[in-house]
Amino acid sequence: MSADHVMGVDLGSTTAKTVILDADGRPVATSVLRMGAVSRVGVKASMDRALADAGLDADAIGRMVSTGYGRRLIADADRSFTEITCHARGAATLWPGVRLVIDIGGQDSKAIAVDENGFVDRFAMNDRCASGTGRFFEVLARALEVDLEAIGGLALEGSDAVAVSSMCATFAETEVISLLAQGAAIADIAASVHRAVAARTVGLVAQVGPREPVVMTGGVAKNAALVRFLSEALRLEVAVPDEPQISGAYGAALLALDDLRGVRVPPTVGEALPMAP
């Protein structure tokens, strides 16, 4: 079997994502697997699943690029790139013409400004803590005793009757508990927390400068309430790809394909990053 496929692997804080592309750059398999923190077992399972779905052996993978928190743990990767580069590359290909990528994952959030050529122009990341990330919503769901997947729907039903100000996951949980003790409706609390996260994200966007079109990636992009509140706060339409979680892995796979082809084209709209040492 010829090694004419490429693999991009995004080993994040809570999920492992794998994308396999064929020699023409068409996705043949994707895998998103929830796991423990930067789990080697989890990432192997994600890679194995993607290979199985594609009906391929590992020998069919001619190049592999890793990204995410655990990118350096993937021994088989030919090269690793940061999430910034990979998300920009993935999003710019998924959504041609995008100028601002907002990626909110399990443990961090990023605003990536992309120039007219699809290059990373500026970026900003959340500082120090899990404020406004997937982990933050997990804490909220636990405090409200609702499923994580249901938290967005709940927020859309809520009003702005209450306010949560803290963006520290621990202190926000304390605030939420306090509001519950005062008898506040859980939908209102959920809405308040989502609005606070949206406001926080606007601050992140301000660091790189607002621009459009805006695409949101990462697991939190599946939260319809946050997307809506963020769109309202930014006063911009926020688009979400069909599979927002795989943007980083897709970008990594595209970089691997560049390397496999030996084509010197811009990284986000054609030219390869320097793949040599």
Partner: protein, 444 residues
């Protein structure tokens, strides 16, 4: 398919700066024994007033410098705990918190009188070694904490120790004629501070009971001017690529220029640094073999991580070549110093603290330095407890991107509190910035 394991590049640090370690140690050891010699001791913060103290025959203790020394030796913990136990919260400037902790420990005196959680005697020894002050002098520019710091120390010592304050106005440079080293604001502020330095000298004459030795001041300022000229010459030699010395070498040379005595030894030190750089240029020796990126560093130093940061940037082939803290501070404009009449030039340098400018002057200086040194990207060390330094950083980053089209990145850390530093944050952001620089180069 597997990653190659390669040895990580290390910075080729200047050998001449090693002398600074011995000189600084000797300075502190001498200070610790000041009471045994019957010498008077002044505690001060902020501006480099040491030539005035030297001429007055007083031994001087620079609070920030001692905090930085403790942090660089990873011995800051006991002092910070003592400060927190006394009531200073972790959000307070960690320089101030550490030094105030030292004040608490000094004031407590003997170890047997100590109590609470501050009981790590083996580490505490250095933190509690400072001799008690005979008086305080405060001359802090551009930082509200700094301006109150010695007043708090004054209270720690029971308000029994005299305190003299020099007021250093902020240089906003907001008027049409104003700018770096120019305009009415600059002239007025320079004269205003110079007048206060004369008052300070009067205060010192009162404290010592001796007439001030003006000849001694002229002599020491002559040495400092020459040392500062040599330092600037060395910096100028680093504008080409690959650089023969880095920001980290200039960091290693801060203590000598900031608070060591103005004497021939100081001149000899900077002559050695300058000559080694010149020799490297002649020999084609790089400070970072394989230099691929040239970076600007904005932010006060993270003293807990000095070697760590130097190595980290080197591992990425990134030569940090210039920075606000090193290149825009510490007698950086020696032409202003007239050794025959040094007070005005000293006052001007005290105003030229890199936290004491309005943002457009800071922009002007940063853009100038980035262009002069051929910088590819700017790293902003967002010091968590040093807001004075961190305040204008987003403005500066925006200016660097807008005017020079260079990449920028931020990472969190602190001057003397390691708990604010997160290695993965720096690692990811640095890699991302270098990748973006690569992309631009490919596109070009």
């Amino acid at each position: 398919m597997s990653l190659d394991v390669v040895s990580k590049p290390k910075p080729n640090r200047l050998q001449s700066t090693r002398a600074a370690g011995a000189m600084v140690k000797e300075y502190w050891d001498r200070l610790f024994t000041a009471p045994d010699r019957g010498a008077q001791v002044v505690w001060y913060n902020g501006s480099a007033l040491n030539p005035i103290f030297q001429a007055a025959g007083i031994e001087w203790c620079h609070g920030e410098a001692f905090s930085a020394r403790l942090a660089a030796q990873h011995l800051e913990g006991p002092a910070q705990l003592a400060g927190e136990e006394y009531g200073y919260v972790g959000e307070l400037c960690s320089y101030a918190r550490t030094h105030l902790g030292c004040a608490v420990l000094t004031q407590r005196g003997k170890e047997s009188e100590q109590s609470g959680v501050v009981g790590m005697v083996d580490q505490e020894v250095l933190a509690s070694k400072l001799p008690s002050p005979d008086f305080f002098v405060n001359a802090y520019a551009g930082c509200s904490t700094g301006q109150q710091w010695d007043e708090i120390s004054f209270r720690v010592f029971g308000k029994d120790v005299p305190l003299f304050k020099v007021s250093l106005p902020m240089l906003w440079a907001a008027k049409p004629d104003a700018g770096y080293l120019r305009g009415r604001e600059w002239d007025n502020a320079s004269r205003y501070v110079a007048r206060q330095l004369h008052d300070l000298i009067g205060f010192l004459e009162q404290m010592t009971g001796r007439p001030f030795d003006w000849d001694k001041l002229r002599e020491s300022m002559g040495y400092i001017k020459r040392a500062a000229e040599l330092r600037r010459e060395g910096m100028e030699l680093c504008k080409g690529a690959p650089t023969p010395a880095t920001y980290w070498d200039w960091i290693a040379s801060i203590a000598p220029i900031n608070f060591l005595p103005g004497d021939q030894a100081l001149v000899d030190y900077f002559q050695g640094v300058r000559d080694e750089i010149a020799q490297r240029l002649q020999d084609g020796t790089a400070a970072l073999p394989g230099e691929r990126y040239r970076l600007y560093f904005d932010g006060i130093m993270n003293w807990n991580r000095l070697g760590w940061l130097a190595n980290k940037f080197a591992e990425h082939d990134a030569a940090v070549v210039v920075g606000r803290y090193t290149h825009n501070a510490f007698w950086q404009e020696p032409h202003l110093i007239d050794p025959d009449d040094p007070i005005l030039g000293m006052a001007q340098h005290y105003l030229l603290c890199p936290t004491n400018h309005g943002s457009h002057v800071l922009e002007e200086l940063m853009l100038r330095d980035c262009a002069d040194y051929g910088v590819d990207g700017a790293v902003f060390h967002a010091t968590r407890t040093c807001r004075a330094f961190a305040n204008p950083q987003h403005v500066l980053a925006t200016a660097a991107q807008r005017e020079l089209g260079i990449q920028t990145m931020f990472f969190e850390g602190d001057v003397a509190d390691d708990s604010y530093y997160k290695d993965e944050v720096l690692e990811s952001r640095l890699e991302a910035m270098l990748e973006a620089i690569d992309v631009r180069r490919m596109a070009a």
